[in-house]
């Protein structure tokens, strides 16, 4: 599937996650955040960059791992990305939705 995000044609899956990270840039992230009703602050960006780095290193993401990252604790993670933090933040970061139960 394709979707126009920030004026660019971006490949996404049926849930709206980017399928090609090379198409991601900060303007794409910003627009995806707006869609999720999130106003990105510098704290959000720190978390997003961390998630992208973990993904790059092929580390499976989970709430538990994010909580132990030293970047953000679980409570703040939920407050930065309310409702479903891991799903929302990975979508904004342009990386796949983690397949984790924890």
């Amino acid at each position: 599937m394709e979707k126009t995000i920030a004026g660019k044609t971006i490949a996404v899956n049926e849930e709206g996650y980017l399928t090609d990270f090379s198409q991601w840039d900060e303007s794409v992230g910003k627009e995806l955040a707006t869609e999720a009703n999130i106003d990105l602050t510098p704290r959000h960006w720190e978390v997003l960059k961390y998630l992208q780095k973990e993904q790059q290193n092929q580390i499976a993401l989970s709430i538990r791992r994010v909580g132990k990252s030293g970047v953000v604790d679980i409570k703040e993670f939920y407050s930065l990305f309310p409702n479903a933090p891991l799903k929302t933040s990975t979508k904004i970061a342009g990386i796949p939705k983690p397949a984790s139960c924890i």
């Binding site: 499976a60 989970s62 709430i63 538990r64 791992r65 909580g67 604790d73 679980i74 409570k75 939920y78 309310p82 409702n83 479903a84 933090p85 891991l86 799903k87 984790s100 139960c101 924890i102």
Partner: protein, 160 residues
């Protein structure tokens, strides 16, 4: 009518047992709900209270007796040390799939906004004291209070 298409808005999970497999089932479901943006509450009753008892939560075991999925004869499962052995083996596997031990899991649930309630009847029956309970427990409430909290659309209740 039915504009939410039956979407789950809140999970109310009652934990009444203290075998490791039941506690984990309740915790994974409660945490998983929060991860999906679903509200989530846990009601600890009867032996389920042990999962929030600071002195007991570290020593919960897998049930080796009366658990057909252990694939061992009941008499073997009942031998001294079998529960501890099965638990140690299981915990190793759990760590591999990123499953935290109970105290850490409680911290994750608490930080994720899961509400935790101790059942008053069980609390009184087992002569618990407030200082026995994990600090993240919201309150000691009656079953009626818990039902009251379950009002509304899209609320699901689960007994483990």
């Amino acid at each position: 009518m039915n504009e939410d298409k039956g979407k789950i808005k809140k999970m109310m999970i009652i934990l009444s047992k203290a075998s490791l497999e039941n506690v984990y089932a309740a915790f994974v479901l409660a945490n998983g709900a929060r991860m999906e943006g679903i509200e989530s509450e846990l009601f600890f009753t009867f032996f389920g209270l042990e999962a929030i008892n600071k002195k007991k939560m570290d020593s919960l075991h897998i049930a080796t007796v009366g658990n057909p999925a252990m694939h061992m004869p009941t008499m073997i499962g009942g031998l001294p040390g079998m529960e501890a052995l099965a638990t140690t083996m299981m915990k190793k596997e759990m760590e591999k799939v990123d499953m935290p031990e109970i105290p850490e899991f409680l911290d994750i649930l608490y930080a994720s906004g899961v509400k935790m309630w101790a059942c008053k009847l069980a609390f009184d029956m087992f002569h618990y004291k407030e200082e026995d309970l994990y600090e993240g427990v919201d309150d000691i409430i009656t079953v009626g209070d818990f039902y009251k909290r379950s009002e509304g659309e899209g609320v699901h209740m689960l007994f483990i």
